[in-house]
Amino acid sequence: MVRFFLRRLAGLLIVMALVATMVFFLTRLAPGDPAALMLGDQATVEDIAKLRATYGLDKPLLVQFGLWVKEILSGNLGQSIFLQRPVTQALGERAEPTFFLALFSVSIAALIGIPAGIASAVWRGRWLDQALSGLAMVAANIPSFWLGLIFIQLFAVKLGWFPVAGYGDPGAPFLVRLQHLVLPASVLGIVNSALITRFTRASMLDILSEDFIRTARSKGLAERVVIWRHAFGNALIPVITVVGLTAALLVGGAIVTETVFGLPGIGNLVVSAVLRRDYPVIQGALIVVAAVYVLINLAVDLIYALADPRVRAG
C-alpha cells in the first residue's frame, strides 16, 4: 500500500511539474507586454522598463521560469495586475462559492445518477432502462449555460422560488447562500448525472453477471437481497472514481455556470481575468485547479485501492 501510494505521488508531482511548465511558457507566448498592460495607455517607455525590471521581466526566460517556480513552491502565486492583491488572496476569496457549488452539484449528480444507474441495470432492456438511459443521454448533451438560463427564467423569474443570480449579501447567513446555489447546483447536477448513471449501470451489469451473484441466486436468496447486499456494494467501488473525478472537474469546470448565475467563484474570476488579460491570475487559477484535480484523483485512487486489493497489485 505504501509503495502504491509513493508511486502515485511521484506521478502526481511529474504531472504538476508539467502543468506548471506548460502554463508558464504558454502564457509567455501571449501577445502584449504584461508591464505595458499593467500601466495602461498613458505609460511611458521608461515607466514600462522600470516595471519590467521590478517584476524581473527583463531577465532571460529560463531564469524567470526558475524564479517563478521558486515562488510557487513557497506558496506565492504572484500579484494580480488588476485586483491590486496577491493571486492567492484573490483565489482564496473566491474559493467558497466554488467549493460549495462543486460539493452540492456532485451530491445532486450522485443522488440522481446512482439510483438511475441501478434501476437501469436491474430492469435492463425494459422501458425504464430505455427511458433512464435516454434521459441521461439528453442530459449529457445540454449546454449547462443554456439550461441555467432556462432554469433562471422558470424558477427565478416566473415562479420566484429562487434568487436570479449572485451569492447573497457579503454577510449573508449560510442558508441564504445555499438558496443561491440551488439552481446552479441543480443545473450542474443534472448535466453531470449522465456519466454517473451510465457508469453505475455498466458497473452493476458487470457485477450482476459474476459467479457469486449466480451462487447467491441459486441459494434461493430474494432478488432484493442479491441486489442490495451482494451486488450494490461491489458495483459502487468503480462508481466512487467517477463521482470523485466529477467533483474534481467541477472545481474549475463550472466556469460557464458560475458566469450565468453571477456566482463570485473561481470560474468567474478566471473569466474576468481572461477578458482583462490578467495573466498572473489565470496562471495561478490553472495551477490551483490542476493541483486540486490531481489531489482528488490521488484520494480517489487510494480509496479505490483500500476497497479493492487487486488495484494495489496492478
Partner: protein, 288 residues
C-alpha cells in the same frame, strides 16, 4: 444504381445496414443530416438574410412570418440559426480533423515507440488535469478570440483524449502476430504504423471522432457565450444565446431555440457515436 452498389456484400452498405439496425441511430443520423444540409445550403434555405435588421419587428414571438421569432434587432432567429450552424458545425468539424490527426500521430508513437510512451502520456495527463473549458479559455486568451483560434484551442484540449484511445489500441494491435511478422521482415516502423497499425485502430478513432465533434459543438457554444470565442457579430448558436440572454425575460425564444439546436446536434452525434461503438466493439455489444 448499378448492381455493385446494390449487392448486400458491398461493405459500405453492410456497414450502414448494421449501424441503422438501431432505430435511434437512424433517427439521429437523419436529424444531423438535416442540420448539416441546412447549414451547407443556408443562403438557399434560410427564409431571411441572417443580418437583415427590422427594428419594427424586434423581439417578436414565433409567427407565420418568423417561425422561431425575432431577436433584439428584429433579425429572423431561424435564419440566424441556419447560418449559425455553419460556424458551430464548421468549427466542430475542424476540431475533429485537427485533434484526430495530431492525437492519432502521438497516440501511435506512444503506443509503438517505447521510448516516447512515458513522455507523451505524462504530457497528456498534465493537459487532462485541467477541465476542458478552463484549458480552452486559457488558450483562447493567449491566441486571441477568432474562429481559427477556437479551433486550435479546442483541438489542443481534445487531442490528449485521442492520444489515450489510440495508444491503448496501438498497444494491443502491435502485439499481434502480423505486426510481429512485418517487423521480422524488416518493414520500416513508419510503414508498420501506417499500414498495419493505423488501419486496425481506425474503429476506435472513428468512434472518438463523433464524441469529440459533440464535445466541440458544446464547448464552442460555451466559449462564445463567455465572450472568449468567436467574435459576437458572427452568428453561432453560442453567440446567439449570449447576445439574447439579456432579453430572455420578455422573449425566451431568443435563447430557447439556438440552445435546442446545440442539444439536437450534440445528441445526434453522441447517439451515432454510441451506435458505432456498439457495432464495432463486440465486448460492449454484449453488455448493452
Amino acid at each position: 444504381m448499378d448492381a455493385v452498389t446494390m449487392s448486400p456484400s458491398n461493405p459500405v452498405r453492410l456497414f450502414l445496414k448494421r449501424l441503422f439496425r438501431r432505430k435511434l441511430v437512424l433517427m439521429a443520423t437523419i436529424v444531423l443530416g438535416v442540420i448539416v444540409l441546412a447549414a451547407l445550403l443556408a443562403p438557399w434555405v434560410a427564409p431571411f438574410k441572417p443580418d437583415a435588421m427590422r427594428m419594427a419587428r424586434r423581439l417578436k414571438p414565433p409567427s407565420d412570418v418568423n417561425w422561431l421569432g425575432t431577436d433584439e434587432f428584429g433579425r429572423d432567429i431561424l435564419s440566424r440559426m441556419i447560418f449559425g450552424g455553419r460556424a458551430s458545425l464548421g468549427i466542430g468539424a475542424a476540431v475533429v480533423m485537427l485533434s484526430m490527426s495530431v492525437g492519432t500521430l502521438f497516440g501511435l508513437l506512444a503506443g509503438y515507440v517505447k521510448g516516447l510512451d512515458a513522455l507523451i502520456m505524462r504530457l497528456a495527463d498534465a493537459m487532462m488535469a485541467l477541465p476542458d473549458i478552463l484549458l480552452a479559455i486559457f488558450l483562447v486568451a493567449i491566441l486571441g478570440p477568432s474562429a481559427g483560434n477556437v479551433v486550435l484551442a479546442l483541438s489542443i484540449v481534445y487531442a490528449p483524449r485521442v492520444v489515450r484511445v489510440v495508444r491503448a489500441s496501438t498497444l494491443v494491435v502491435s502485439e499481434l502476430p502480423f505486426v510481429e511478422a512485418a517487423r521480422a521482415l524488416g518493414v520500416s516502423t513508419f510503414r508498420i504504423l501506417r499500414v498495419h497499425v493505423l488501419l486496425n485502430v481506425a474503429s476506435p478513432i472513428l468512434v472518438q471522432a463523433t464524441f469529440i465533434f459533440a464535445y466541440a459543438v458544446l464547448a464552442e457554444a460555451g466559449l462564445s457565450f463567455l465572450g472568449a470565442g468567436v467574435p459576437p457579430e458572427v452568428p453561432t448558436w453560442g453567440t446567439m444565446i449570449a447576445s439574447g440572454q439579456q432579453y430572455a425575460d420578455d422573449a425566451f425564444w431568443v435563447v430557447l431555440f439556438p440552445g435546442l439546436a446545440i442539444v439536437l446536434a450534440a445528441l445526434s452525434l453522441q447517439l451515432i457515436g454510441d451506435g458505432l461503438r456498439d457495432m464495432l466493439d463486440p465486448k460492449l455489444r454484449k453488455a448493452l
